[in-house]
């Protein structure tokens, strides 16, 4: 009984069987190594993010505590103003503006201090008023630089002589701005001017031609604008979590120069919260985009 002679396929089978075993073992080992390597890297990255978040949160907490102390100390100067010189009040306001201009609306305080300075008999009255205007213009310019970087804007000048002759106010040339793919046309009408307070009353008309919900509607807002209106704080809310603001750059007997900026709502002041529905929509959209 001799077994039939082995052909080349039988020989190949004998050789490949252990090779197959080895390959399977190598594949299992490789899979295990790659999986553990991937999990290790992921864990490493997660722990780094966690550490970063923790550091940021601690820094934020200590920063908030320091800001709270500064705020409490400085605001006392306004709440208990006995024996405080006008110079000290201006200094306190400057401190507040430089440290809290992104989170607080300081316009009422500005107007209050301006009123106090105007009523005082201080010989340095003009210089104090100039200091307030200078700090306000500087902060507006700083905020504008950030907002123009993330949004779009345009400049217009109001001819005050022409405004005094026009009965229905003065129309400024409209402009179309596109922010995050949303196109809007902004029309400004200057209705009144107050040369004492150096403020302008403006009617703003906004049209969104490509938005099916808003296409037929013109949104209208009417307000006074002066040097103490900061764009991050004092702005008009638009749909799709966007804002529009007007900054008064200069004002003299001949003209007033304005900058109009449209920007994402995430750059508005810290005191403003986004609408709940808009947050939900953004989350849903980002999830859908991630799946696609």
């Amino acid at each position: 009984m001799s077994s039939p002679p082995k052909d080349k396929w039988d020989k190949l089978d004998i050789i490949l069987k252990p090779v197959g075993g080895i390959l399977t073992a190598v594949a299992v080992a490789s899979f295990g190594y790659l999986t553990s390597d991937y999990l290790g890297k992921k864990q490493n990255s997660e722990s780094r993010i966690q550490l970063y978040t923790q550091l940021m949160s601690q820094r934020e907490q200590s920063d908030s505590a320091l800001r709270k102390d500064v705020f409490t100390t400085v605001i006392q100067n306004f709440l208990s103003p006995a024996n405080r010189s006008m110079d000290e009040r201006v200094l306190s306001l400057e401190l507040l503006v430089y440290n809290f201009h992104e989170s607080l609306n300081l316009k009422p305080l500005f107007l209050h201090v301006v009123k106090q300075i105007s009523a005082s008999k201080d010989t340095e009255k003009p210089e104090q008023l100039k200091r307030l205007e200078r700090v306000a213009r500087e902060v507006s310019r700083r905020q504008l630089m950030v907002l123009e970087g993330v949004g779009q804007g345009y400049d217009r000048t109001v001819d005050l002589a022409a405004l005094s002759k026009e009965r229905g106010g003065l129309d400024l040339e409209p402009a179309t701005l596109t922010v995050d793919g949303i196109q809007r046309t902004f029309k400004m009408h200057v209705l009144e001017v107050d040369t004492q307070t150096r403020e302008l009353k403006i009617r703003m008309e906004i049209q969104t031609p490509n938005d099916p919900k808003d296409a037929k509607k013109t949104q209208v807002a009417e307000f006074w604008i002066g040097f103490f209106d900061f764009p991050m704080i004092d702005n008009t809310r638009l749909l799709h979590d966007q804002r529009v603001s007007i900054v008064l750059n200069s004002f003299d007997e001949y003209s007033a120069d304005l900058t109009i900026t449209c920007f994402p709502g995430s750059y508005a002041s810290l005191k403003e919260k986004p609408y709940f529905q808009e947050v939900v929509n953004q989350l849903l959209n980002s999830e859908l985009n991630g799946k696609q």
Partner: protein, 107 residues
């Protein structure tokens, strides 16, 4: 005494540094216009300068109020109203063509 003089000089010079200043950029169809002669006519006076490689310019006028801004582009200069103020004013311009006519449009 020296401090009083320094304070007085600072008070006088700082507003002058930006008073009557017009600055900005000039472009044609979105393209920066380099080395283009520009002119400001205000209060019977003329102030001239040339745009740099990025199309930017700065002009200083002694007078305040309404003036005329000219950009010397072929075939003929284009102009628009401007205002010189106590503070520097930005005028970014774009030249637009409509019905074969070129116009200066503020951005």
């Amino acid at each position: 005494m020296r401090m009083i003089v320094a304070a007085l000089l600072t008070t006088l010079i700082s507003p002058l540094a930006s008073a009557g200043e017009l600055f900005g950029s000039l472009s044609d169809g979105g393209q920066a216009l380099a080395n283009t002669k520009i002119e400001l006519q205000i209060g019977g006076k003329k102030y001239e300068t040339t745009t740099d490689a990025q199309g930017s310019y700065r002009l200083f006028a002694e007078e305040k109020g309404k003036g005329q801004f000219f950009a010397n582009v072929p075939p003929k200069p284009v102009s628009a109203d401007v205002f010189s103020s106590d503070h520097a004013v930005r005028y970014d311009w774009n030249i637009e063509s409509r019905d074969g006519q070129k116009t200066l449009k503020r951005k």
